[in-house]
Symmetry: C2
Subunit: 373 residues, 2 copies
């Protein structure tokens, strides 16, 4: 198997480890920037490397519609196409089909939908989602799943059943993990029995890694954390655990404490394009008049390329003038903020002796005071 | 005087030299990228340094309106504000006042206009244009001038008279070139007698450098070249000569052949944001379907960061997907293309023996065949 997980050290449920992939190692816990359309919006690969990004995520749904998996394969695969030689993960397209596209029909076999780009009729099935991801060539690929509203039991239950059936078909279509490791996706909403059923179904298929899907999609933060309390221990300790679509700094801490190894989210780059930045004292909006003559960096303790070179005053000017450079500089800061946060949690786990709990406690106290103040 | 020009070598009218400024040397002939609002659109300072940019231009009109010269001064001046430690030139605001703003009144003393941002009433005079540029702190600053349509004799003649009067007032307001060198701007449209009168007026004021204004603003390329034939020799040989707002690759060659030392233009970054790139065979539009599966860089002979790392196929995808990274990568290529073009002309001048004419001849034959084909 090409992908395997070394759990280097644990601290209660939290784990520090290494995921080995064909394109290099991912030190965990880790945060994966999202490159929806084969580019992390406004951030060149060089800057991603320099900030310590290892894994990035790209979206099968978007690449399926444009430029098409056959084109990416012909150009040598996604790594070569986008100039990223470190690990890549592609999702299955399931989430976007259910959230972005106009769905015409869901049946046992798959989903027929209209492209949000041009209205053309398209279809995804477990088998085609495997084929597309094989063409794209990411190191980690995902089962085609159904991700419903997490707080309706009947809906969540039906989604578990369908996700399990589709996972079996994905596993049959992609049985060899030597080049690309296929992860199963646990569903079940906020319900412990459904998460247990979903886990049991997936574990029988012996995936090299497992994701937790269906969270951070509408439930409260309390519900998410309570769900993680019971759903993470259902997954095997010797396999990487991936919490999908979660990227708020406080949620990352809650996830790591509960045994998650990596995360992805558009949040840091999306809020950057709206002028917002993470700081240890909560998020700031750089368009704020208060920063007009502020000669400090966004965060004086930050080592990112933006904080090393530019003041809040200049960044506010770029935001107000709607300059493209604002998107790049704020995205770089936000991504580095999350990556540093993950590095700090990894170091705390390796230090042992309750250091992780102490770090998270201090981090949350300061960060959340800023968020609510 | 802080700024002086060493003419290292000439070849017929063309000159290779060095302009010494408080923020370092500019090897000439040179092309200056434009950072309208204190940022070269979509290109971070680091990439500008790496591509060999020395001088960049920023616009007094835009910075006057936002963020304001007092703010820039308080933040340590334009170099520190925008993170650029090499030479900067600011224009006077005259060109934008006459082209962008809604003008309320032009009188002998100055121009009253409405801001294109918020409609507020603003005024620029020769004295205020000096004060604003002193607050901004660029190495090279420009006289407040009037730049009219170049092919109406009466209008061009009146503009020369006004520009000369304003140049005298600018010189009085800024008599000390030790920190910032004030350039005069020759006007006169396409008319030899007007250019001669303008030059005579300016030379009497003994500026450390001279610009040629009022070209590339509506006249034909033939008219521009014919005007350069007579207007450049009117300027002193021991001072730098700056052709304003010219950046087409063929026009740069025509200017260098006729003795211009440096140029600025928004063209390379503006066309990049519309998906167009310079190549030795003319401009290409990267959105073209022909590039969908083209595994080559934009220009296999180009050493820019874009051509070193990305294929036409990927760039076309970014353009079609309207990704921000497209603006950055295409801008980097176009700027480096012009800077390499200038470096090649400088090397040819230093080589002597008609090498410049040979280079330009080969360059234009290939470039223009692509442009018209």
């Amino acid at each position: 198997m090409s992908l395997y997980f070394d759990p280097v050290k644990t601290q209660n449920r939290a784990r520090a480890g290494v995921i080995h992939t064909p394109h290099g190692d991912i030190l965990t816990p880790a945060f994966a920037p999202v490159g929806t359309q084969a580019t992390v919006k406004a951030v060149p690969p060089r800057d991603l490397r320099e900030m310590g990004a290892t894994l990035i995520l790209s979206n099968t749904y978007h690449l399926f519609l444009r430029p098409g998996p056959d084109l990416v394969a012909e150009m040598g695969g996604l790594h070569r196409f986008m100039g990223w030689d470190r690990p890549i993960l592609t999702d299955s397209g399931g989430f976007q089909v259910f959230s972005l596209a106009q769905i015409n029909r869901i049946d046992a076999d798959g989903v027929t939908f209209r492209s949000h780009l041009d209205g053309s009729a398209r279809r995804l099935t477990p088998e085609s989602a495997m084929k597309i991801q094989e063409d794209l060539g990411a190191d980690i690929i995902m089962c085609f799943d159904q991700c419903p509203k997490p707080t309706d039991y009947a809906v969540a239950s039906a989604a578990v059943e369908r996700t399990s059936a589709w996972a079996r078909r994905c596993r049959s279509a992609h049985a060899d993990d030597s080049r690309q490791a296929l992860f199963g996706i646990q569903q079940g909403g906020v319900y412990e029995d459904l998460r247990a059923r979903s886990s049991a179904d997936l574990l029988a298929l012996d995936f090299p890694g497992y994701a937790i899907g269906g969270l951070a999609v509408g439930e409260t933060k309390q519900e998410m954390v309570a769900t993680l309390d019971f759903c993470v221990p259902m997954l095997p300790e010797n396999k990487p655990r991936y919490l999908m679509g979660v990227g708020a700094p406080d949620d990352l801490a809650h996830g790591v404490l509960r045994g998650i190894d990596f995360f992805d989210c558009v949040l840091p780059t999306r809020i950057a394009r709206h002028g917002a930045v993470f700081t240890p004292d909560g998020t700031l909006n750089m368009g704020n008049l208060a920063f007009a003559r502020d000669d400090q960096p966004i965060d004086p303790t930050c080592d990112c390329a933006t904080c090393q070179n530019f003041t809040r005053s200049y960044l506010r000017h770029l935001v107000k003038a709607r300059e493209l450079l604002a998107h790049m500089l704020l995205s770089i800061h936000n991504l580095r903020f999350l990556i540093r946060h993950m590095e700090a949690m990894r170091a705390a786990i390796l230090d042992g002796d309750g250091r992780l709990e102490a770090y998270v406690d201090m981090f949350l106290r300061r960060y959340l005071r800023g968020e609510t103040g």
